[in-house]
């Protein structure tokens, strides 16, 4: 079971969290202006990297904040965590 550092509550067991997938997605600011291809990319296509992966989790049994987590998908190491509404600190790799 992962140990995930909630930026507020501290290190907590994975069972308190729910996974929210790729955290680099940004909903196009103007959906009307977005092309169909851009939209499809946003809804369906993913980088799915081997290695550091920036993703969203919700501390669902805790403070209920959505948070960003950079986690290595090969080793499960958690490299950084932070609030969801701003970029994570540190490099992606």
């Amino acid at each position: 079971m992962h140990l995930i550092k909630c930026p507020w509550c501290g290190e907590r067991a994975e069972m308190e969290f729910t996974y929210g997938g790729d955290g680099t997605l940004t909903r196009p600011a103007d959906p009307e202006a977005a092309s169909d291809a851009e939209w499809t990319d946003y809804v369906y296509f993913r980088d799915n990297p081997r290695g550091p992966h920036e993703e969203l989790w919700q501390h669902a049994s805790g403070c209920r904040r959505w948070i960003k987590v950079r986690r290595n998908t090969l080793t499960h190491e958690i490299l950084a965590t932070g609030p969801a509404d701003r970029p994570l600190e540190g490099n992606a790799s």
Binding site: H2, D22, Y44, F45, R50, R71, T73, L74, T75
Partner: protein, 418 residues
């Protein structure tokens, strides 16, 4: 090739088994092939086999970075079924089922396909409705299905807890009698031997590091054993689909997740049917060796580590014991994880890619093992004919943008939810 039979076995028995030949050769790669299949798992080997057998394309190499069948072919719960509701899924998996039914004979390799039935348990009235809907679809799609009531389920699976005060009481079930299990490793080995005997080169310990393109079309693969030219390239690398597609500059509607499976210590036969429960999130069967094999949900997050964690084991085991309280004193012997490529609608992609000569077979989610023969068959057709067979025409990459997803569970673009 020495044919395998009781006679050759007895003959060799007297000779101390010293005369059995290698099941497949280990050739050095040729400079160029008509088709290079990336991935020596069940799907890649089956594709090569059917390319040679059905389409006369034998100048084929299967390149495998490690050992044959070492990916998901050897890391699943061996269940075979075609109990799908959506027509395109149903027809594809039923094609596979029909191939399974003659596979041991076709390959001259006993894959131990055992049609012991796959039973989905219903725990509520709405679920029974949904099963009826699925069962009716199956039957109208030409597939066998039976809707069982609780008494019939109880008679079929005596150790199942069918009491009223269960947390998820059993209300009935959907049975596909032709479903069952097969010996997973044997499938890879049988196809490898079959493909090899038809001239396919199987190249193990050969990792693809790049896909070479000349303008809009592929010319071959860079590998740890040098460049191998190819007129066409088929990708069949479950667990690494996104990674290999990225070599050709493609991004996919796929996330990689880990699916765990586990076995108990072996016991004398106690469970003849494959039993699954959607509400409790588990499936369980007993192997010929006596192990109870069970599995359940994904761990839930993207991963390429063939490594799961304990909470899912805990959850799946709890589900198994809730259904089968008598198994409580058996022991968990082994648990393992396979990396499954989960698409955004829960169904695979078997299609030509936007790069000429490049073909993709991936994103099998939970369905990869059971699909092996059918998947190889339609993929071989797609590669050989340069167009999909009717059976895989719907499984395109474009379906996502077009809004024609094949979403058996209706879970939407949340790959972990399928």
């Amino acid at each position: 090739m020495t044919r395998y039979s009781i006679f050759s076995l007895v003959r060799n028995g007297f000779g101390g088994h010293r005369d059995w030949p290698e099941a497949w050769r280990s050739p050095d790669p040729k400079p160029e092939y008509d088709v290079v299949i990336i991935g020596g798992g069940g799907h890649g080997l089956a594709t090569a086999y059917y390319l040679a057998k059905e389409h006369g394309v034998a100048n084929v190499a299967v390149v495998e970075k490690d050992w044959l069948g070492g990916g998901n072919t050897g890391r699943n719960t061996t269940i075979v079924r075609s109990n799908y509701m959506i027509a395109s899924n149903a027809h594809l998996y039923e094609k596979s089922m029909k191939l399974w039914e003659g596979l041991s004979q076709d390959l001259n390799y006993n894959v131990m396909f055992s049609q012991r039935g796959v039973l989905n348990l219903a725990h509520s009235d709405p679920q029974l409705d949904a099963f009826a809907r699925r069962g009716n679809s199956m039957r109208l799609n030409g597939i066998d299905a039976e809707l069982l009531d609780r008494d019939q389920v109880e008679a079929m699976v005596p150790l199942l807890d069918c009491s009223d005060d269960a947390r998820y009481p059993v209300m009935g079930g959907l049975l596909q009698r032709r479903g069952g299990t097969a010996r997973h490793d044997a499938v890879a080995w049988g196809y490898a031997r079959g493909a090899d005997s038809r001239g396919v080169d199987i190249i193990q310990q050969c990792e693809v590091t790049g896909i070479r393109r000349d303008g809009g079309r592929v010319t071959g693969v860079e590998t740890s054993r040098g460049f191998i030219g190819a007129k066409k390239i088929g990708i069949a690398v479950a667990g690494h689909t996104g990674h290999v597609a990225a070599m050709a500059g493609l991004r996919l509607p796929i996330e990689s997740h880990v699916l765990q499976a586990m076995v108990s210590e072996p016991v004398k036969p106690v469970l003849d049917t494959v039993v699954t429960s959607g509400a409790a999130h588990c499936y369980i069967s007993q192997t010929d060796k006596g192990d109870l094999v069970f599995g359940g949900d994904l761990d839930g997050w993207n991963t390429y580590a063939q490594r799961g964690n304990f909470p899912i084991i805990e959850h799946v085991t709890a589900a198994v014991l809730t259904l089968f309280p008598a198994f409580s004193r058996l022991r968990l012997m082994r648990a393992w994880g396979g990396v499954v490529d989960m698409t955004m609608d829960g169904s695979p992609i078997i299609a030509k890619l936007p790069v000429e000569g490049l073909f993709l077979n991936g994103g099998w989610c939970y369905g990869g093992f059971k699909a092996t023969p059918g998947s190889g068959w339609v993929f071989a057709h797609t590669i050989a004919q340069n167009r999909p067979h009717d059976l895989n025409a719907a499984f395109t990459l474009e379906r996502f943008g077009q809004g024609r997803t094949i979403d058996e569970k209706g879970a939407g673009p949340v790959p972990g939810a399928h």
